[in-house]
């Protein structure tokens, strides 16, 4: 796809540790067009956040990053020097983090922190930057925006701080917004509001968004495309609607089964879980990493795993139908 805004092919991230190399992310591909929302879903430690940090060029120096292709618009992110990356960050690609409580600098006012981004990337006056900050604070639904500029982070609630973080990310009208579990640290009523806000804003500004989450309920509501990650690898990708209506990989189905559904899930019945734990990714990793927790694992799962499906909806499994027939209808 040549019209993709972001294109990542065969991204590998390895971390040298005392007891061998940790293969945190192994050969994942995805691409994203303007205006599209890609959701990367997976359990904790599946490599979602590392993947997004790699795109931003914010990985710690100890992590080795390799890819066949990592391209943002016309820029090769692997070859880009620090100066080019700095010009991109906050300007054309922006990120919202999981922890709104600690993501703002306690020593500076909201106004200082908001305008800093714009002043770093654009030749605008301080007054113009403040005006833009007020405009965005209003846009993210913060009342009395003008007076918020002189407040400090500790004077705001978690929900407000996350709104400020969103405004901060949008200061330069980025082409790509990466939201790394933006609602995890917030309470449920705020979660829905923040999500709604993100979706509306991406539409309005025609931004591409990568939404990283472990909450499939979130994905179903907002994503165009889904990439399901497990232990550093992609197990299934496809249009959100298809992945939800016809989940092909046993892991995706496992995740879906974990969500209690009103009316369907029996009251008092145990909630769905995926038994077992994520395997260690230190040392050589081969075959399907999910095999240790998969009900349909066979000897073949140790060997090379074929990519099945078509260009839009693909999954990796030795079973031609992802062992769907063996499971029967999804409850």
């Amino acid at each position: 796809m040549t019209d993709a805004l972001l294109s990542v092919k065969n991204l590998t991230l390895s971390i040298p540790t005392g007891s061998g190399t940790l293969h945190a992310v192994r050969g994942i591909d995805f691409d994203l067009k303007r205006g599209e929302t890609l959701s990367i879903v997976g359990e904790s430690g599946s490599g979602k956040s590392l993947t997004s940090l790699a795109v931003m060029g914010l990985l710690s120096k100890t992590i080795k990053c390799q890819a066949d292709e990592m391209r943002f618009d016309t820029i090769d992110l692997q070859k880009a020097n620090r100066r080019v990356m700095r010009d991109l960050r906050g300007n054309r690609m922006a990120m919202i983090f999981q922890e709104p409580m600690t993501s703002l600098n306690p020593a500076y006012t909201i106004g200082d922190q908001l305008t800093e981004t714009l002043l770093l990337h654009r030749k605008v006056s301080k007054a113009a930057a403040r005006a833009r900050a007020v405009e965005l604070l209003e846009k993210v639904g913060i009342t009395a925006a003008e007076s918020r500029l002189s407040q400090y982070p500790h004077q705001l609630s978690g929900g407000l701080r996350q709104r400020v973080m969103i405004a901060l990310a949008l200061m330069c009208e980025p082409d790509l917004l990466i939201a790394d579990e933006p609602t995890t640290a917030l309470d449920v009523t705020i979660q829905a509001q923040i999500l709604r806000l993100l979706v509306d804003l991406t539409r309005e500004m025609n931004m591409a968004m990568i939404l990283i989450t472990h909450d499939l309920g979130v994905v179903a509501r907002v994503a165009d495309k889904v990439a399901v990650m497990y232990a550093g690898g992609l197990v299934e990708t496809g249009p959100a609607a298809e992945v939800f209506s016809a989940p092909s990989h046993p892991h995706t189905r496992g995740l879906l089964r974990c969500i209690p559904q009103p009316g369907k899930t029996e009251r008092g019945a145990p909630l769905g879980t995926i038994p077992g734990i994520v395997p260690s990714l230190i040392g050589d990793v081969s075959g399907c990493v999910f095999r240790t927790r998969c009900a349909h694992a066979s000897a073949d799962c140790r060997g090379p795993i074929p990519l099945r499906g078509d260009d839009s909806h693909a999954f990796k499994c030795v079973h031609a139908d992802g062992a769907l027939s063996a499971e029967g209808e999804l409850a």
């Binding site: 931003m56 914010l58 700095r86 010009d87 991109l88 960050r89 906050g90 300007n91 922006a94 990120m95 983090f97 922890e99 600690t102 993501s103 703002l104 600098n105 306690p106 020593a107 006012t109 800093e116 981004t117 770093l120 990337h121 400090y152 500790h154 973080m165 901060l168």
Partner: protein, 305 residues
């Protein structure tokens, strides 16, 4: 900010008052001042006469009130030994001590903070090891010994610097290094620890995600937060340097206030000792107050507490 400053100022005044009372009464606990003043050969009548002359026969609170009231006007009485007003005596000696103390803390801060920052940026690198070695050596070396070594090398062997006295600025180079080096290790280690901690925080990642350059990330976003405990430490060190530079002052024969305190204690020169204790305590109080204000400016969360 203003209510915070006023609150801290009130607190500082309260502490100052308490300290003044303690420093006044401490000397009455060290024995009969009239007897000490009269000397070993004096008769009982002489001691009584002195007691009345200096007013030691009056209630202690009255004496304290009188002393405090005079002290507030800058009158600390007359030195028993020098027979001169204590205020003038201290003011004269304090000059040397102030120069030494200010130079010492500046030397300590200007070496310790950059070293701490660099050590934190590259932990376990060569420069971190060197900084660690310097700070361990500084902590382990007694000031008088380090001072003597400097005198032997730079004054006697190389002849670059004068060995003692306070006549020119060159006389202050070695004392500054000795005094500053004593304070440096703690400041450096605290800066390093603070920077390491702050550099791992989420808001630093946010700053990088904004596209801020490394210099901006380090100095605008990280150092401002990491320096807060250093400010408090430096204030205490500064107080210590002004009051406790006795060792350095005697090694380099700088007749400063620390040296005067030591002399006056040895001579039972009561008014001078009282005044010096008060002045040294005031330094601590003033510097901690200033550190509190500075920290409140650095960290808005402290203003509300």
């Amino acid at each position: 900010m203003l209510p915070f400053i006023l609150k801290r100022l009130g607190l500082a005044l309260l502490v100052a008052l308490t300290v003044s009372f303690i420093s006044f009464s401490l000397l009455f606990l060290s024995g009969d001042p009239a007897a000490a003043l009269a000397g070993e050969t004096a008769s009982g009548e002489d001691v009584e006469a002195l007691r009345r002359l200096y007013g030691f026969d009056r209630p202690m609170l009255v004496q304290y009130g009188e002393w405090l009231f005079s002290a507030l006007r800058g009158d600390f009485g007359e030195s028993y030994y020098f027979k001169l007003p204590v205020a003038g005596l201290i003011a004269e000696r304090l000059q040397v001590t102030m120069i030494l103390g200010v130079c010492g803390i500046l030397f300590a801060l200007l070496t310790a903070v950059p070293l701490g920052v660099v050590a934190a940026i590259r932990p376990n690198s060569l420069i971190d090891r060197v900084a660690l070695f310097l700070s361990v050596a500084g902590q382990a070396m007694p000031s008088f010994w380090f001072g003597l070594i400097l005198i032997v090398v730079f004054a006697i062997q190389l002849g670059w610097l004068p060995p003692s006295g306070a006549a020119t600025w060159r006389h202050f180079i070695m004392p500054t290094i000795v005094l500053g080096y004593y304070a440096m290790p703690a400041i450096m280690r605290l800066t390093r620890a603070g920077m390491l901690d702050v550099l791992n925080s989420d808001f630093i990642r946010t700053a990088r995600a904004k596209g801020a350059g490394e210099g901006r990330v380090l100095f605008k976003h990280a150092l401002r937060n990491a320096i807060i405990p250093v400010v408090s430490l430096a204030a205490v060190q500064m107080g210590f340097m002004l009051g406790g530079s006795i060792v350095v002052e005697s090694v380099f024969a700088l007749h400063g206030a620390g040296f005067l305190a030591w002399e006056s204690i040895a001579r039972n020169d009561l008014p001078t000792v009282q005044a010096l204790i008060l002045v040294f305590s005031m330094f601590y109080i003033v510097f901690t107050f200033l550190a509190d204000v500075l920290n409140a400016w650095l960290d808005p969360r402290m203003r509300s507490s």
